[in-house]
Symmetry: C2
Subunit: 203 residues, 2 copies
């Protein structure tokens, strides 16, 4: 594009670096900010910079936190006997929004992916082992693996199972099956097949 202003061009270039935002969308966003009050742009910029510079990761579970330990790890109302292992903080937010889990978390910071060169040593796996061997050895009874149902997720789950075996804990994975509200005929055959294998008996 042929910008009449270098300032606009630079702003568009920076915004277009964000994932899923192309040059046209970036231009729309920049022109929107131009129409609005200057304080809105200032507040946006300040919020981003202070978020980036001040945010920390919980030293125990590695989720995003405003302090050295996150509000979940320090809460007395959480069940310290279950740890849910997830890929990143977004998964923590998603599970928290279901209000169906009251235990603790452990954020791996990614999944094992040979294609992208991510191995077990790049993830917070040894830190999970340290939790189980150290301060939380007495309290933890169960580990739930809540990883994506992909090749990488399954590889990571397999690796974790082996690593966790010596602790003699109950290790489970979240259920895979037909989504609630999903139509049988539109489910892919692998999901449908697994949902038959993993059928649930009526009590």
């Amino acid at each position: 594009m042929n910008f009449p202003s270098k300032l606009i061009e630079e702003a568009v270039e920076e915004v277009a670096k964000l994932p899923g935002i192309g040059k046209k969308t970036a231009l729309r966003l920049v022109l929107h900010l131009l129409k609005k009050d200057e304080t809105q742009t200032q507040m946006l910029a300040d919020a981003l910079v202070s978020m980036r510079n001040k945010v920390q990761y919980c030293q125990r579970c590695h989720t995003i936190s405003d302090a050295a330990l996150c509000t979940i790890c320090t809460s007395a109302r959480r069940d310290a006997s279950i740890i849910c292992v997830v890929e990143d903080t977004r998964d923590v937010l998603a599970i928290e929004n279901t209000a169906q889990f009251n235990g603790l978390y452990h954020v791996l910071g990614g999944i094992i992916s040979p294609l992208e060169g991510i191995g077990p040593q790049d993830l917070k796996i040894s830190s999970l082992v340290e939790r189980l061997a150290g301060s939380e050895a007495q309290s933890v009874k169960e580990i739930i693996l809540a990883l994506s149902p992909t090749m990488e997720g399954d590889t990571t789950a397999f690796y974790l199972q082996k690593k966790l075996k010596p602790f003699g804990l109950k290790v489970s994975t979240i259920a895979r099956g037909i989504p609630i509200g999903g139509d049988l005929e539109y489910a892919d055959e692998i999901t449908l097949g697994r949902s038959i294998q993993a059928r649930i008996a009526y009590d």
Copy 2:
């Protein structure tokens, strides 16, 4: 959503104020910035703030500019006998990208829209009249109205035609018709009807 960090929550709220970006997308963008180097966030913030605070509007044609007069108005290679009237700077960029127009522009800053309370006095219409009556009285021979083919665009075009009549200039509008590559059977009946009325004779 239930954020474990106030900093993240504030950043997400600011990003979600942008048009077309919801809370989920905002969270994705914020977490992306967290994964990248701090300098990327700083550069994005700086580019937005300096764009917002330093950008100007061309005093003559009201397009976005880095100086008091834009690079189009000050260029000696542009044809000063034609002024193309558009709604906003995005339209200037779109027309510039076609490389089919070498005249000057006049950005109205909106279109007449009684529903949104935007009247002729809110637009840069008197400024256009001043251009034609003043410094550019001798040079300008033609005005092209390049407004959206909507009710508001047509209203604005009608109003402008009346205002421009005393100057005795040639006033035209961009052609409406079947888009290049468009299929006749998928064209709406109003567009197709107008394209028949405004048929072009082979020379």
